[in-house]
């Protein structure tokens, strides 16, 4: 246990100091940390799932508070919670299925249907299910303990491999933990391979002689473009520098090394050049539930320019960037102001940045935000590791990957 504690603390400090950069790394490390939390968690004989959930939640809240702007942390915590609930449910239903003999389970939800013969474990299952599935019109008139049949529930969460688990009651205690860890491992590997998954779709979206514009640098974008190049597509890329980090230079260098025709432009030339561009492909920091995007600073400008010229604005994002929160005022609340030194030479302006002239406030403020919020109406398409989606469909993906309960619980720390 102390082992986990120190791990958590270490990770928290890293998050606080912004030592971990990039949502993918953050997501992966969070998942790994939670895995070790789960594996070290002592599990009581009853209500194991709840114990696990509590443990994960406690750690999760701590992590989220450490860097509320890095939404990937919260996403992964919620994903893991969802996994626990799901595994618990599948075990419970499998157990019931074995007893009630109605094992017509081609879908997880069929198993749910069977739980109305109120058996010992059914209550657990029902409770779990009610959290797995968001409320819907169908269930409006129902309430949980009596839950009637729901034949048409399409919110079969994530992977339904759990349904085939045989119901051996004696081994359930170990099994839950084992299954959860297994599923978390899968999640980790999903995060690790999301680039490839996304890049595989590149040829479907990039045609010969396409002109693509991107801003700054994202590993996902780079792999996407390179994947298309490897498939013998020839196209050209405009890379806007992406002030103040100038990651565009890195991307340009990398693309050139892979033999792509690359042109570096200043950020200010985006509007001038966009009319000659066929597609804008960018990465994201986080994708919100309404289809809005928290993206590196400058992308809202690019998106507006793209909209002006009807250029498709395509966002590449691994599923771990999908955040189940609806943003309000995200420009301010989900942003982070970086050091002014990236923009101005302190030596030259130090005198006016801190002299308290009368009012006590310095004459000069330097604003250097890290992120931009791109509203959903400016996004043409999301390409995730599970395929392409409209911004208007994001709400649906969220119900697939997260439990309704967890969103609400974690909401406050996140905002």
């Amino acid at each position: 246990m102390p082992d986990v504690h120190s791990l958590v603390n270490e990770f928290t400090i890293k998050l606080k100091k912004r030592k971990i950069e990039g949502s993918k790394t953050t997501a992966k490390q969070t998942a790994e940390l939670l895995r070790s939390v789960i594996s070290q968690q002592r599990i009581p004989h009853t209500n194991q799932a709840a114990a696990l959930i509590d443990a994960v939640k406690a750690v999760g809240e701590q992590l989220i508070a450490a860097n509320p702007v890095e939404l990937a942390v919260g996403n992964i915590v919620r994903r893991v919670l969802h996994i626990i609930r799901e595994e618990d449910l599948s075990l419970a239903t499998a157990a019931i299925g074995g007893l009630s003999l109605s094992a017509a389970s081609d879908d997880e939800d069929d198993a749910e249907q069977d739980d109305h013969p109120v058996l010992s474990a059914a209550a657990v299952a029902a409770a779990a299910r009610s959290t797995l599935r968001p409320p819907s019109l169908q269930t409006l008139l129902e309430d949980v303990p009596y839950s009637a049949a729901v034949p048409h529930n399409s919110s079969s969460g994530g992977d339904s491999e759990g349904k085939s688990k045989s119901a051996d009651k004696s081994s359930r205690s170990r099994k839950l933990k084992h299954n959860v860890i297994e599923a978390v491992n899968e999640l980790i590997s999903d995060i690790a391979t999301c680039h490839e998954q996304i890049a595989e779709q590149a040829v479907e979206h990039i045609h010969q002689n396409e002109v693509i514009l991107t801003l700054g640098s994202s590993r996902t974008v780079m792999e996407f473009l390179c994947a298309a190049k490897e498939k013998k597509r020839s196209f050209r890329v405009f890379v806007a520098e992406g002030a103040p980090r100038y990651q565009g230079h890195v991307l340009a260098k990398e693309l050139v090394a892979r033999g792509l025709q690359t042109t570096v432009i200043t950020d200010s030339a985006v509007f001038a050049m966009i009319s000659r561009v066929n597609m804008v492909i960018v990465g994201a920091h986080a994708v919100m539930a309404n289809g809005g995007v928290i993206a590196p600073v400058g992308l809202n400008m690019v998106a507006l320019a793209a909209q002006r010229h009807s250029v498709p604005f395509v966002v590449l994002a691994g599923i771990h960037k999908l955040c189940p929160l609806y943003p309000h005022n995200p420009e301010v609340l989900l942003n982070e102001l970086k050091s002014p030194s990236e923009l101005l030479d302190f030596g030259e302006f130090s005198d006016c940045m801190d002299f308290g002239s009368g009012s006590g406030s310095p004459l000069l403020h330097v604003v250097n935000p890290a992120f931009d919020y791109v509203p959903p109406k400016l996004v043409s398409l999301f390409i995730t590791d599970t395929g392409g989606h409209n911004p208007s469909y994001m709400y649906r993906l969220i119900t697939d990957y997260y439990s309704a309960d967890d969103m609400v619980v974690q909401r406050r720390p996140a905002f």
Binding site: K253, T263, T266, D267, A272, M273, E348, F349, L363, P369
Partner: protein, 522 residues
């Protein structure tokens, strides 16, 4: 004469070596011509006197550089004069040839190639009236940068193997119309070839080149003042009329200035004014009177069209500033700066957001001055404009030119700022003197534009850590694009503040119409 194609080359190279060693990468080539360069220098010394008599009317005292005149330089001079004449034929057209040949300075073989081609054409037509040559050489009137055929033709004639040699040009496949690139080293070298240039003009040229004088108004004023100096020192050669010869002279200056940096539209307008004045001079006027009249015309233009106009604009604009406003400006516009300072002097309580962008970072200088005057400022970069825009109540932008379809041609990035402001429903006010209006129309930023030095893209000042593109020139597939202007569509603009009052962008053609008439009458 059989060595002539060689000689000008040497002369040119020498100049390059002298001025812009750091830009010139053709080390091997340098070695081969080094001795030749020395020779050329000697020749130039000898040739100087004759050049003055033959080709120049300027007093000898005003010619500090003439000692360096060589054969090749003389040829270049003749070339430029020829070109200037051609340009005169085309009115105030921006001169294509020099711009083209001088583009892409960091190109290894560029300089020499350019010169040799110039020399070649020189050889053919240098000593006789080059009627035939001129016809071919000279861009037709009202040169547009986007005439592909013409550009192609000119390219073929002017620069050998131009496109193949440089990976940078790949970029221009997207901008086939684009024809105005300037390269500092080549241009600087040109000074030595254009010895008979009036020193004032020469100085302005250097200032343009080095970027010491920038901004539409400053450049225009500098040019006009230099011309005034030149006119003061002007004497009409025998058997020539003042109006024709002076026009030719001005044209040669202009082509030199273009070689330094393409003229802005506002400068073209000023030039058009000047030429109209020269053409209108009555033949009976004595030379001194004519010169005095022209000088006063120039002064009047500067005063009325720029200085007073700015005052009017400032007066108009401050009425749109309320207490508690947050005013955003982009880059550094002299008029906007005046407006802000004036409003501050009037005691208005407001805050300024200075948005800046690479590579010029002009905003920092503006910020310095504003903060120095005690204005409360916020500084940010162009990417963060969406972040800052919600708190902004007015956007004040300057313009290089306003075209008659309402498009505002201005510092690159202006369109971005205006677009974001439009998206956030913040009014966008363009402050622009009416002399910068032009009857041309343009829809995008690509048909006509100016390219800056791509090298500055690769280096981020003050950020030693950003060095990924250090050897960019060696990379086949990599191009750096440094656009200087962009075109802001008129629907992003709420208001244009000019010396004719505050007008909507739709009224630009009206102003152009009225102003066009006026500037003939002035």
């Amino acid at each position: 004469m059989e060595c002539s194609p060689r000689t000008p080359r040497i002369g040119f190279d020498e100049a390059i070596l002298g001025n812009t060693l750091h830009h010139f990468r053709a080390a091997g080539f340098n070695l081969t011509v080094a001795s030749g360069a020395k020779k050329a220098r000697g020749i130039s010394g000898k040739a100087a006197g004759t050049v003055v008599e033959v080709a120049n009317d300027l007093p000898a005292t005003s010619k500090p550089l003439k000692e360096k005149m060589s054969k090749s330089e003389r040829r270049a001079l003749q070339e430029s004069q020829r070109a200037a004449k051609a340009a005169a034929k085309g009115g105030a057209s921006v001169h294509e040839q020099p711009g083209k040949t001088l583009k892409q300075p960091s190109q290894k073989k560029d300089g020499p190639q350019v010169t040799s081609s110039v020399a070649a054409s020189e050889k053919k037509g240098g000593d006789r009236p080059p009627e035939k040559d001129r016809k071919k050489d000279v861009p037709p009137p009202r040169m547009q940068f986007d005439d592909k055929n013409r550009v192609e033709k000119a390219k073929r004639r002017a620069v050998v193997k131009q496109t193949e040699a440089r990976n940078r040009v790949e970029l221009f496949r997207h901008l086939p119309q684009y024809e105005h690139g300037t390269q500092l080293p080549d241009l600087e070298s040109k000074f030595f070839l254009l010895d008979p240039m009036h020193p004032a003009v020469y100085k302005v040229g250097i200032q343009y080149l080095a970027g010491d004088v920038h901004g539409g108004n400053a450049r225009c004023i500098a040019m006009l003042q230099a011309f005034r100096e030149a006119i003061k020192d002007y004497t009409t050669p025998q058997e020539k009329t003042l109006s024709r010869d002076l026009t030719a002279k001005i044209n040669s200056f202009v082509s030199f200035l273009i070689a330094c940096r393409p003229l802005s539209i506002s400068m073209g307008n000023a030039l058009r004014f000047l030429k109209a004045r020269i053409a209108k001079l009555s033949a009976t006027l004595a030379e001194s009177e004519a010169k005095a009249s022209l000088c006063s015309d120039i002064d009047r233009f500067i005063n009325e069209k720029i200085v007073v106009a700015d005052k009017v604009i400032v007066g108009n604009a401050v009425t749109k500033i309320r207490d508690g406003d947050v005013l955003l400006t982009y880059g550094s516009s002299s008029v906007v700066e005046m407006i802000l300072l004036h409003a501050h002097e009037l005691g208005k309580e407001f805050r300024v957001v200075v948005v800046d962008s690479r590579p010029k970072l002009e905003g920092q200088a503006l910020l310095r001055r504003l903060v120095g005057k005690g204005l409360r400022c916020t500084y940010t970069h162009v990417n963060a404009v969406s972040y800052i825009m919600p708190e902004v109540t007015r956007v004040f932008l300057g313009a290089a030119s306003v075209l008659s379809n309402g498009t505002v041609f201005s510092r690159v990035g202006t369109a971005c700022v205006a677009m974001v402001a439009h998206a956030f429903h913040v009014p966008v006010l363009i402050c622009c003197e009416a002399y910068k209006f032009h009857e041309r129309v343009q829809l995008d930023s690509i048909c006509s534009n100016e390219l800056g030095d791509p090298d500055v893209i690769a280096k981020v000042s003050g950020r030693m850590d950003v060095n990924y593109l250090d050897n960019w020139a060696n990379k086949e597939n990599l191009q750096l694009l440094n656009l200087l202007y962009d075109a802001t569509p008129s629907d992003y603009i709420s208001m244009i503040i000019t010396d004719y009052g505050m007008v909507p962008p739709t009224s630009v053609p009206v102003i152009v119409r009225e102003y066009g008439r006026e500037h003939l009458l002035i």
